[in-house]
C-alpha cells in the first residue's frame, strides 16, 4: 500500500506527534508498505534524505500545550499539491488536522480516502468550540477518524463532530524491555530509588506532591533516593527542595532516548504524580515495558493504561499522604514489585508498535475502496487561495455549475 503521512509539527523539534509519525512510518515500512511523510521543519537540511518531504517553515502559535505550526498560503498549497500528485497514495493519513496547519491544507486539497488521527489533549475547549464549525466542511472529508485516547475521542466528539476509533499511541517495547541500566544507579545497588521523569517545573506534572510525600517515605526507608529526570531549571528546583531532603534527591537532567530506557530499567519504583491534563500516559507504557513497578495518580488516562490498578498502583491525585504510603508500601514488598513488573511487561505488549501499526493498517484497509483508490490533488485552486472562509471555494464551483 502507498501511504502518505502528514505531520503538522516541525520535524526537527522534539514532540510526541513527531515521534508517533516517525515510529508509525518505520513500522509500516517494516511491514512492506511504502510510506512518505510531509512535514514542516526549522531547517530543511535536518530532514532525512529519503521519504520525508519538506513542507516549508511555519509560524508558531500556542496550541495543545505546545506550539502548533501555522502554515497557510499559496506556496504551502503548491507544495502540498505537488506532494499529493507525485505520491500516488492509496490513502493519506493526517495528524492533528484541526489547527490551521499543513494538515488542514491537505484536507482542503486532497481528493480520495483520508484518515486522520486526533492527538489533541489539552486544547482549550473554548477555542475548539469556536474553531470547530469553521473547519467542519473540511473535516467532513475524512473517511476514518482515529483518536489516541478516550479523552482525545471525547474532545473530538464534543467539538469537531463525528466519532473516532480509539487506537493508542505505540511504544517500541523491546527497546525498553532489554538493555543496560544507568551506570551507578543499577537496581538493587545502594538504597531503593524512586524515579520521576518529566518537565519538573510544570506544576501539573505533580513533582511538588512527590516532594511533599518524600519525608513520609524516608521515615520507613531512610536510604531511599528520588531520581528526577527531565527538562527544567535545576537551580530553581534545588532551591525549592528543603535542605533536609537534599541528599536524597538527585537531578539527572534531560535524558537521551537510550538513557531514558536505562533510567526506567534502573529505578525500583516509577512515580507519575501528575495532577491533570494527560491525554495519554505514554511514559507509563514505557515504564511498564521497562519492567518498572509504577505508582501513579488516578487520572483517567493513567487508570486506563494501568488497567484500573491491575498492573500498577493508583493513588488519589494531589494526596501526598496516600502517595507516601503507596511508595513506601511498594518498597517494603519485593514480591509485589516483582509481580507488578512481570504483569506490566506483559501488558505493555498491547501497545507495541507491531500491534498498534496493524490496527492503523486495518483502518486504512477499511477506507480504501477495493482495487485501491488513488489520492490526488483537487484542481480547485480557489479553494486554498485564502484562509478557510466559506465563500472562497464556492466561487469556483459556482462558475463550474453555471457553465454546465
Amino acid at each position: 500500500m502507498r501511504i502518505g503521512i502528514v505531520c503538522p509539527y516541525k520535524w526537527d523539534r522534539p514532540g510526541g506527534v513527531q515521534y508517533h509519525v516517525r515510529d508509525l512510518a518505520d513500522t509500516l515500512r517494516g511491514l512492506g508498505h511504502h510510506v512518505e511523510i510531509l512535514t514542516p521543519a526549522e531547517h530543511e537540511a535536518s530532514l532525512p534524505a529519503e521519504h520525508v518531504t519538506f513542507a516549508g517553515r511555519t509560524v508558531p502559535i500556542p496550541y495543545n500545550g505546545s506550539m502548533a505550526s501555522v502554515q497557510f498560503g499559496p506556496i504551502s498549497a503548491a507544495r502540498v499539491r505537488r506532494w499529493l500528485r507525485e505520491g500516488h497514495f492509496d490513502v493519506v493519513h493526517v495528524h492533528d488536522p484541526a489547527p490551521p496547519s499543513i494538515g488542514l491544507l491537505v484536507l482542503m486539497i486532497a481528493k480520495g480516502p483520508i484518515v486522520a488521527t486526533f492527538h489533541a489533549a489539552t486544547v482549550r475547549s473554548k477555542f475548539l468550540s469556536a474553531w470547530g464549525p469553521v473547519i467542519r466542511p473540511w473535516l467532513e472529508r475524512i473517511s476514518g477518524r482515529i483518536a489516541v485516547s478516550d479523552f482525545a475521542r471525547r474532545l473530538q466528539v464534543e467539538h469537531l463532530g463525528g466519532d473516532a476509533v480509539v487506537i493508542p499511541n505505540g511504544v517500541h517495547v523491546a527497546s525498553f524491555a532489554d538493555g543496560p541500566q544507568l551506570a551507578g544507579l543499577e537496581r538493587g545497588s545502594g538504597g531503593p530509588t524512586i524515579g520521576f521523569l518529566g518537565r519538573f517545573d510544570e506544576p501539573r506534572k505533580g513533582l511538588p506532591v512527590l516532594l511533599e510525600a518524600l519525608p513520609g517515605v524516608l521515615r520507613r526507608h531512610p536510604t531511599a533516593r528520588l531520581l528526577i529526570a527531565g527538562r527544567g531549571d535545576p537551580a530553581a528546583l534545588r532551591a525549592s527542595i528543603p535542605p533536609e531532603l537534599g541528599e536524597h534527591v538527585e537531578l539527572l537532567g534531560e535524558l537521551a532516548e537510550a538513557d531514558k530506557a536505562a533510567f526506567l530499567r534502573s529505578v525500583d519504583v516509577y512515580c507519575a504524580p501528575n495532577l491533570l491534563g494527560e491525554s495519554f500516559g505514554i511514559i507509563l507504557i514505557e515504564a511498564l515495558a521497562a519492567g518498572a513497578p509504577i505508582v501513579a495518580s488516578d487520572l483517567d488516562a493513567f487508570a486506563a493504561v494501568l488497567e484500573d490498578g491491575e498492573v500498577g498502583v493508583l493513588v488519589r491525585r494531589g494526596d501526598a499522604g496516600a502517595l507516601a504510603d503507596a511508595l513506601a508500601g511498594l518498597l517494603d514488598d519485593p514480591d509485589r514489585r516483582a509481580d507488578l513488573s512481570a504483569r506490566g511487561r506483559e501488558a505493555a505488549w498491547a501497545y507495541d508498535w507491531s500491534v498498534v501499526a496493524r490496527r492503523v493498517l486495518a483502518v486504512y484497509e477499511t477506507v480504501v475502496p477495493p482495487g485501491g483508490g488513488v489520492v490526488t490533488a483537487s484542481e480547485d485552486h480557489a479553494e486554498v487561495a485564502g484562509l478557510p472562509g466559506a465563500d472562497v471555494p464556492s466561487r469556483a464551483s459556482l462558475r463550474r455549475r453555471v457553465r454546465r
Partner: protein, 179 residues
C-alpha cells in the same frame, strides 16, 4: 445617483444565498460520495464475514454440533438481504452466532481464526466510519437554511446501520467502540 440602499441590501443577500447554496451543494455532493464509499466498504466487510461464517459451518475444523452448524449456515445465508432494517436483524443474528464461536477460535485452523477475528474488527471499523458519514450528512441536511432552500430535500436520508459488532476480547479492544 446610485442605487437605493435597499437594492444593494437585497443584492448582497441574494449573492450570499447563491454563494452559500453553491458551497453547501458541493459539501452535500462530497458527503454523498463519502457515504457511498463507506457503505461499499461496510457491505464488502459484511459479505466477507458471511462468507467466512459459511466456511466455518461447512468445514471449520471445529467439531460443531450439527444444529449449531446449520444455524450458522442459515445466519450466513440470511445476511444477504437488501439494505433495510431486516438486514440489521440478519447481521445481528449472524453476529450472535459468531460470538458463540469465540471460545472455539483456538481450535480452529489458525488462518481461518485470524481471518475471522480480522474481519470482525473491520466490520466494526467500517460500521463506525459509515455511521460517521451518515451523521455528517444528517447534520448538514438538518440545518435550517438547508431545509428552507430544500437542498437535496428529495433524496432519502442515508440510514444509520446499527448492529452489535462486538466479537470477543480481541475485536473488542480493537476499537469496536464500547467505551
Amino acid at each position: 445617483m446610485g442605487l437605493p440602499v435597499w437594492t444593494i441590501a437585497v443584492g448582497v443577500v441574494v449573492l450570499f444565498l447563491l454563494v452559500w447554496t453553491a458551497w453547501t451543494l458541493t459539501r452535500l455532493r462530497r458527503l454523498e460520495a463519502r457515504v457511498d464509499r463507506a457503505r461499499t466498504a461496510l457491505e464488502s466487510q459484511l459479505r466477507r464475514r458471511a462468507a467466512l461464517a459459511a466456511e466455518v459451518a461447512r468445514e471449520g475444523g471445529v467439531p460443531l454440533e450439527p444444529a449449531r452448524a446449520a444455524g450458522l449456515a442459515r445466519a450466513a445465508a440470511g445476511a444477504s438481504l437488501p439494505w433495510t432494517p431486516d438486514r440489521e436483524l440478519a447481521e445481528n443474528v449472524l453476529g450472535r452466532e459468531l460470538r458463540g464461536l469465540v471460545r472455539e477460535l483456538p481450535r480452529m485452523a489458525p488462518a481461518l481464526a485470524e481471518d475471522l477475528t480480522g474481519t470482525a474488527q473491520r466490520v466494526a471499523l467500517a460500521r463506525r466510519f459509515y455511521n460517521d458519514a451518515v451523521r455528517d450528512t444528517a447534520e448538514l441536511r438538518g440545518r435550517r437554511l438547508t431545509r428552507l432552500l430544500r437542498l437535496h430535500a428529495r433524496r432519502p436520508l442515508p440510514r444509520y446501520f446499527d448492529i452489535d459488532d462486538s466479537f470477543g476480547e480481541l475485536a473488542g479492544t480493537a476499537g469496536s467502540g464500547r467505551h
